[in-house]
Subunit: 187 residues, 2 copies
Amino acid sequence: MQKLFKYFKEFNPLSKEAENAITEISDIVTIKKNKDLQPIGHTCKTIYFINKGVARIYYYKDGIDITESFSFENNIIARVESLFTGKPSRKAIQILEDAEVVAINANQLFKLYDTFPEIERLFRKIFEAAYVETVNRIEGMQFHSAEERYNALLNEAPNVLMKVPLKYVASYLGITQVSLSRIRGHR
Amino acid sequence: MQKLFKYFKEFNPLSKEAENAITEISDIVTIKKNKDLQPIGHTCKTIYFINKGVARIYYYKDGIDITESFSFENNIIARVESLFTGKPSRKAIQILEDAEVVAINANQLFKLYDTFPEIERLFRKIFEAAYVETVNRIEGMQFHSAEERYNALLNEAPNVLMKVPLKYVASYLGITQVSLSRIRGHR
DNA sequence: CTATTCCTTTAACATAAGATAAATAATCAG
DNA sequence: CTGATTATTTATCTTATGTTAAAGGAATAG
């Protein structure tokens, strides 16, 4: 849990009691490459923190596997469209590299918000930051060619391209695998 | 302020004291069509609620005007990439139809979070919902043709197409005005 | 009301990305 | 280690969207 609390500290430092309360509602889970940490169709009731490994959120559109996002070590991953609405998620979380994650029970966490305003504030800030990232991503998608998007990714998150199969990267960029391959063979 | 508090109630009902505290840090502003409510380059220090009228957030990419989002009556509008980071915004808020808005001072609001956890919770929920919308929008952009995106907008938010100049809609959809025109003359 | 400006459409052409198929290359199970 | 599966690249052809230009309509200022 050490890395998790260090991560939290960047957003909103917690009291020892608050940290203990979070520890109580969390589990450490290890999971192998290519396994789904969370399946499609279930309502998201867990927020994960990645101690080690790589994960992605994906879904199917017209039968085609599409990557919504990637997450790496020292980051949170959750299917917010389900977590914040209580509706079943059409998305799954898949592990792309053998992982150890902290699984935080979301319903119990939300209850902690009542007794620990500092925890509510912490997660408010975490998701505000995630929201900003998402808004910035829309900007990137709005008027860039696939090649520009690829180059931007190469700059901003080279680890994505080092650690993730390209077919997953292609759909993340909103293009086909074949197009990505063409772009990589530059031109 | 009535409409605003009614809107708030959908997310998290407030005590009378909390409502009064928000009233104290808010102003009613009327502003004419085509005026900028907030200019590019300023750090966002205000959260707006639209009592009446239409607005959009826009920015320039390579000198071209791009619409990030639209907001209508009974909704919040804010440049979150600036509001939540404290950095100057590269975006502006423009009024597209004569408007009356409630301007909530963000710094003072954030101070209220300390004395009124219910207000912090309210805005947490408001922005969580906005975050979910943004995530869903990415999904819409990831693997739909321009025509599909246009038709989806036509279904989900026909008022956008009724009330907003098409050139602004085009960049919102991530296409040129000419392409939008072609799509509208179907195929 | 009129003239000017701005918005939208239409047309012709250029180009980036999709689809399909097939050839390599890499990974994995036994 | 080997065969089988899976991932990536390459090639060809098609199509959607961008670009530029020009014309027609709508809105606005004076």
